[in-house]
């Protein structure tokens, strides 16, 4: 290209300048549009359910309130916007843009809290039917945190809100989003915190799980593993359980941080998870259910870590499952929604989700955490559709496009 292919410059051989111009156009267009796979964060939030409403974060930064009965949208959606700098080489002119939402909205009394990928937590007033157009409280009040908020928010009995950020810090704020404490782990956090009465547990990219005093954020212990931790830990009885990118699942004592068991126990074990533990685990009836991106849910004895059952769901599981009574509802990226009965470890395919638009059928992809209420599980797909599904029958009660508002 650069070594003097001068013959290509002349007469009918003007190939090189044309090739360079073509290269410039392709790289510019691809770089600007993200077609090369460049990260355009769009979000995959779940939602929250009240008696008769569902609140969900759409892809593209809207918080939408829907009627739980039929999925009609109530009031005007709230749009989270953020200031973006102009892109280089004319990629974007700058200005404001929608905020990607990965952190599901959480309801507490008359406030709905949501964390934005822009590094800001918002609290909106909720009157039972719709949200206030402007946020009532923000954290931080001015500007943004040094990193994005990807994990979920956790709220304790005293209405204090806890969350991690990719700036490496864990934050505790009060109900009006005023800072109480912060703790710097030194590495990015995408994990959601798990809280007990006195301790907060959270993992980070630095392959460590931290136990912090919930009152002041002081460190109680840290547990080092061999892989990043993105899945939220789950606390069950006196142990904290968590999976890592090292394809291992651990149980540690909540008080001391001592390892109780690990799965698989050795590298030579026959059953070995083949991918990351990305989605959050659940605990029920003395068993820990750990979904893996290899398409399986591993049911492990909470006391010993022994494999109780293995559910092969046939597709990667990145969406965190939800518990409805004795059923664990879990969805694969392929759009299959299963129920796992924790009493007899029986799996049932509830529904395979497809988006039918006119005569075209599109496969649905599920990555957002599931949420449930009143025997109905809600599934938010990457095509920005929200499905309400009966957990017993698998019947799709309603479907709503969060982009267009169509049913």
């Amino acid at each position: 290209m650069k070594t003097g292919c001068r013959g290509l410059l002349h007469g009918r051989h003007r190939i090189l300048p044309l090739a360079i111009i073509l290269l410039a156009v392709i790289l510019t267009a691809a770089g600007c549009s993200g077609a090369l796979g460049r990260g355009v964060a769009q979000g995959w939030a779940g939602g929250a359910v009240t008696d008769d409403t569902v609140i969900v974060g759409s892809r593209g930064g809207k918080i939408i309130v829907l009627n739980a009965e039929d999925g009609t949208i109530q009031g005007d959606p709230v749009v989270l916007v953020t200031q973006v700098p102009s892109g280089g080489f004319g990629c974007s002119a700058g200005g404001s843009a929608g905020v990607a939402i990965y952190s599901s909205p959480v309801i507490r009394d008359d406030l709905v809290y949501v964390g934005g990928y822009n590094g800001k937590v918002y609290a909106f007033l909720f009157d039972g039917e719709s949200l206030s157009a402007e946020s009532e409280y923000d954290f931080p009040r001015e500007g943004y945190l040094g990193g994005s908020i990807v994990g979920e928010l956790a709220i304790d009995q005293e209405d204090r809100v806890y969350f991690g950020s990719s700036d490496g810090k864990v934050y505790a704020v009060d109900a009006t989003l005023r800072s109480i404490w912060e703790y710097d782990t030194g590495d990015e956090i995408w994990s959601s915190p798990a809280i007990t009465d006195d301790t907060l547990f959270i993992g980070n990219f630095g392959k460590k799980l931290y136990a912090l005093d919930i009152a002041d954020g002081s460190e109680r212990w840290q547990f080092e593993t061999k892989g990043a931790i993105i899945a939220a830990p789950v606390v069950y009885e006196d142990k904290v359980y968590f999976g890592t990118f090292g394809r291992r699942f651990y149980a540690a004592d909540t008080a001391t941080g001592e390892e109780v068991w690990r799965f698989p126990a050795t590298d030579s074990d026959e059953v070995k998870p083949r991918n990351w533990f990305w989605a959050n685990p659940l605990a029920s009836n003395g068993t820990i259910y750990a979904p893996n991106l290899d398409g399986k849910v591993y049911a492990l004895d909470a006391d010993t870590g022994a494999l109780v059952a293995e559910f092969d769901l046939g597709g990667p599981i990145s969406s965190s499952p939800v518990m409805v009574g004795e059923l664990i509802i879990v969805a694969t990226e392929n759009g299959d929604v299963y129920s796992l009965n924790t009493t007899d470890n029986h799996k049932t395919l509830l529904v395979h989700l497809e988006d039918v638009v006119g005569e075209k059928v599109y496969e649905e992809t599920v990555q957002a955490p599931l949420f449930a209420g009143d025997g109905v599980v809600y599934v938010h797909t990457l095509r920005d559709n929200l499905y309400a599904i009966n957990v017993q029958t698998g019947e799709v009660l309603w479907k709503k496009s969060l982009t267009s508002g169509d049913s």
Binding site: L16, A24, F89, Q367
Partner: protein, 325 residues
């Protein structure tokens, strides 16, 4: 399209991601260093192709006088000119594709590297999650190694360099590399095009480096430096030598203007007086042993034996030209 995507992932993207992650493991978890080492590996793998490209370029340069002759000869018949040029290139075994091929091959590598950087550094959750589909299951290291550390020197390799140092380095090193292989040309048209090429690419890539992750810019800088070194060992500083050659001082210029020794001056005057400039070696050879009777390829006439003969020949030529007028 899905099949093309799968082929792309299997053949290029997945191997590159896994190699990057494993390399990073052995290079002290330093992703910047990993990119530099990967650049060496890619250039090593492409060395046969690069050598072919250099040969093709050299061949192209050697053909330039013949192409110029053809252009002169078929100035009014463009079609014939194109045919003759193609025939000449074919006859000489030079292919324009030999120049373009390395660029075309490097393009997918850039794109794959770009995608790999975005994914292994966990820039956004969607892309990072996709990374899990590319990791080789038997290689346990790659699973626990990601996400990689994105800081290197002053850079966040996942983002463009806000200090603009990398865009400048990309532009400068690319210009140097290009300058080394841009030959001087007497043809003003050719000169203008050469100048355009010399500046267009560095400026273009400098702008790209302002928008793309600095990890990619680091690859470009490392590539350019490797290329500069390779070119230096193959053909010296080339065009860069003229840039760094010290400027002539006033004393040097005066020395040049000073009259030459008498004997030399006489020789030069005699030669300048003639219409044909004879290489001194040929003249000396012919004068020394009297055996040189080489035929001139264009006129078919023998070389004159002395300066007097040249003068006579010159006078004849002048008178012929006068007659023509």
């Amino acid at each position: 399209m899905e099949v093309i995507g799968q082929i792309w992932d299997t053949v290029l993207l997945s191997p590159m991601i896994n190699v990057l992650v494993v390399l990073s493991h052995y290079l002290f978890n330093n992703f910047g260093l990993t990119i530099i080492v990967l650049t060496f590996i890619i250039h090593g793998a492409m060395f046969p192709l690069t050598r072919r490209q250099m040969k093709a370029s050299k061949g192209m340069q050697e053909l330039q006088p013949k192409i110029a002759e053809l252009r002169k000869k078929y100035a009014r018949d463009k079609q014939k000119l194109a045919q003759e040029q193609m025939a000449l290139m074919k006859q000489s075994g030079v292919s324009p594709a030999g120049c373009l091929l390395p660029m075309l091959i490097q393009m997918p590598i850039w794109i794959a590297l770009y995608q790999s950087i975005i994914r292994v550094l966990a820039v956004v959750p969607e892309d990072f999650l996709k990374l899990s589909h590319h990791l080789y299951t038997p290689w346990s290291t790659v699973f626990s190694q990601v996400p990689l550390e994105s800081s290197f020197l002053w850079l966040d390799l996942a983002r463009a360099d806000s200090l603009l140092i990398m865009p400048i380095l990309v532009g400068v090193t690319m210009w140097m590399s290009q300058k080394m292989v841009t030959p001087e040309s007497a043809d003003p048209n050719q000169q203008a095009q050469g100048r355009m090429m010399l500046w267009m690419m560095p400026i273009m890539f400098g702008f790209f480096a302002m928008s793309f992750p600095s990890g990619l810019a680091l690859y470009w800088v490392a590539s350019n430096i490797i290329r500069i070194v390779m070119q230096y060992f193959i053909g010296g500083w080339g065009g860069l030598a003229t840039v760094f050659r010290p400027r002539q001082t006033e004393a040097d210029q005066k020395a040049q203007r000073r009259p030459a020794p008498v004997e030399k001056k006489q020789k030069i005057e005699k030669v300048v007086d003639a219409d044909i400039v004879i290489p001194r070696e040929s003249t000396e050879e012919g004068t020394d042993n009297g055996t040189s009777r080489d035929k001139r390829p264009d006129s078919g006439r023998s070389y004159p034996d002395s300066i007097e003969a040249i003068k006579r020949q010159s006078r004849r030529s002048k008178s012929k030209r006068r007659k023509r007028r």
